[in-house]
Symmetry: C2
Subunit: 368 residues, 2 copies
């Protein structure tokens, strides 16, 4: 099976989906004391993981109320797509001069990871009739933006993280100046790569539309907005912060780029406006769902079951869904989000929708 | 008259073109001792300035060998375009929530400046038959990239500058974390703004082409490459560095974005490939020309004439054109670059070429 957390993709026997595989910063980190030098390392230790063994040894159970193919092999699909994406990313940043910056860019971009966002992009493209080739430039672009945000997020003036995916962070290896520039370079490269590679493959109208979606997901309407509100929430009392405040951070810091990944896939695949909006909603739901489940597991599972300290959110006084609306209502919310995500896939070809159904189902049913 | 350095555009009586108006970092800063906290302030004090009074009270003399309109009022053109660009930039970043990041972005983007790059973009668009409206989205995008690079360049881990355009740098006002994010937001906003605004104005093929050009100018093939080589040259003996090394820095750190500005203007204006290449060469020449003249003035003018310490490059042991090829050869090189820039404009309508001819001529003939 494959590791689908932030670690390197392997053929290991257990599938992990750590919180940091979807979230560039563990939510609420500004509300607790985990902002020290080794906070990333701590977060990795604390991250939730889940085994696909508990869900049919890697074969996703079909969600209730849907006729999607029950024999879909999520694990194989995930590995296949991650390998394709990693190969495409490798080619996208050749070792040209100046070597230092190219090495810094490659260090973070090719450091492994489950390629969840690229997978979403490709699966969304395939859903509307496109193929992997058509989606790949956008899939790589989204991963470049993700890598860029991680590099800048790890900087001493931000999260001050020493480790990322078990390796020294970019600035620890190449210096802070190079890390700032590597992040900038990756941000620009995302747009360059997507537009250059897609030029001969899709109509320019689609590419323009994709550039707009991607850019909006990054800036002050997306990722950056979430990071800013998170940074500025440091030291605030969770009770004073409120539900909407937390939702804002999650929807911008995490869901925005997932949303862009899915929407770009639909755009590149030539989907309709209706399909764009369905996949936008789907991606938003799974981003939200992931966080709700994360909060529930913190209060319902033992440290042994979780593989990390149980109840840490409660101890840290973090604003969580159980704290805000209670455990039962949180479980209802999670189930509603799973259903809502799944509903967006109704009406599509069941075989093509299978990877996305499996992803939503997996996030909802994980036990640790 | 107007100040065309990095300061706020005013109706003052003297026109200044400071080195920092075209160069995001004073060249060779890594080869001398000006890397302390106040280096930007020092650079501003040391920067060259020139009065348009010496060139016909603001009316540019027609370059020899060209029949361009001698009555062209460069000053008025510059002021008019800078005002238009500033208005467009103001609208491009409304004060939406989260306010902190929008304020940080606006602080640097609307801090004044001569808008040399947007002017180049608009003038290039008008040259090939387009108009200001058609070029404006690209003109703003280029200025956003410029502002983004200045914010990141001023960070403590980069230039560690306290002042920019006479005001505290972005991170001094908003904090390092916000400055990193403001730079990222501006980088993304450039692509968002250009693609959204140009959607109804130009064919998507042109927009895609413009995105590719802009992205290439920023990343490891452009601006970032120049910054990396400059940063990594710190502490090197100028004599060991060599001519090509210095040319690489100038062409990437300075000329690449000027080149993109001009080329984007031609693309948006619907110019031919031949016109794109002519304007690319023009922009590259004026970037190069500016540096050669800067070096010549350092050894030929008194401190009083320059308004800054004369001979500072010699004292600092910097690699300069006079040092490498001698003063006379440097003057020849400057004249050749002016001619080469001007030659790119032959064959175009003389009235439309006038702003670009005037700009090249002005850079070549400045006395301080």
């Amino acid at each position: 099976m494959c590791t689908i957390g932030e670690g390197v993709l392997t053929m290991a026997t257990t599938v992990h989906l750590s919180s940091s595989s979807l979230f560039i910063q563990s939510r609420g980190r500004r509300y607790n004391s985990l902002t020290s030098v080794n906070n990333l390392q701590k977060r990795n230790v604390l991250s939730l993981s889940a085994s696909l063994n508990s869900q049919g040894r890697g074969h996703m159970n079909p969600p209730q109320g849907n006729d999607h193919n029950s024999s879909f092999d999520f694990k194989s699909y995930m590995i296949r797509k991650a390998e394709s994406v990693s190969s495409a990313l490798d080619v996208s940043v050749p070792l040209l001069k100046p070597l230092t910056i190219q090495e810094a860019v490659r260090y973070s971009l090719l450091a492994g990871g489950k390629r969840v966002r690229p997978l979403l992009c490709i699966a969304a493209c395939e859903l509307v009739g496109g193929d992997e080739t058509t989606a790949m430039s956008a899939a790589c672009a989204v991963e470049m933006i993700h890598a860029s945000s991680l590099i800048h997020d790890d900087l001493p003036c931000m999260d001050n993280a020493d480790l990322r995916r078990g390796k020294p962070t970019n600035h620890k290896v190449f210096g802070e100046d190079m890390a700032v520039l590597a992040g900038d370079a990756l941000l620009a490269l995302a747009f360059e790569h997507m537009t250059v590679v897609s030029s001969g493959l899709v109509a320019p109208e689609r590419t323009v539309r994709a550039v707009i979606e991607l850019a909006k997901a990054i800036g002050t309407k997306g990722l950056v907005a979430g990071q800013v509100v998170d940074l500025r929430s440091e030291g605030l009392n969770p009770d004073d912060v409120g539900f909407e405040h937390l939702e804002f951070i999650h929807l911008h810091k995490t869901a925005a780029l997932l949303e862009a990944a899915a929407v770009l896939g639909v755009i590149m695949g030539g989907g309709t406006e209706e399909e764009v909006e369905k996949l936008r909603k789907y991606a938003r739901c799974i981003g939200h769902l992931f966080q709700v489940v994360d909060d529930i597991l913190d209060v319902t599972r033992s440290t042994e079951e979780l593989g990390k300290t149980a109840g840490k959110d409660v101890i840290a006084g973090k604003l969580t869904y159980p704290r805000l609306i209670g455990l039962e209502k949180s479980k209802e919310l999670a189930e509603n989000l799973r259903k809502e995500a799944e509903e967006q896939l109704l009406g599509f070809d069941s075989e093509k929708a299978a990877p996305l159904v499996a992803l939503a189902s997996y996030i909802a049913s994980r036990n640790n």
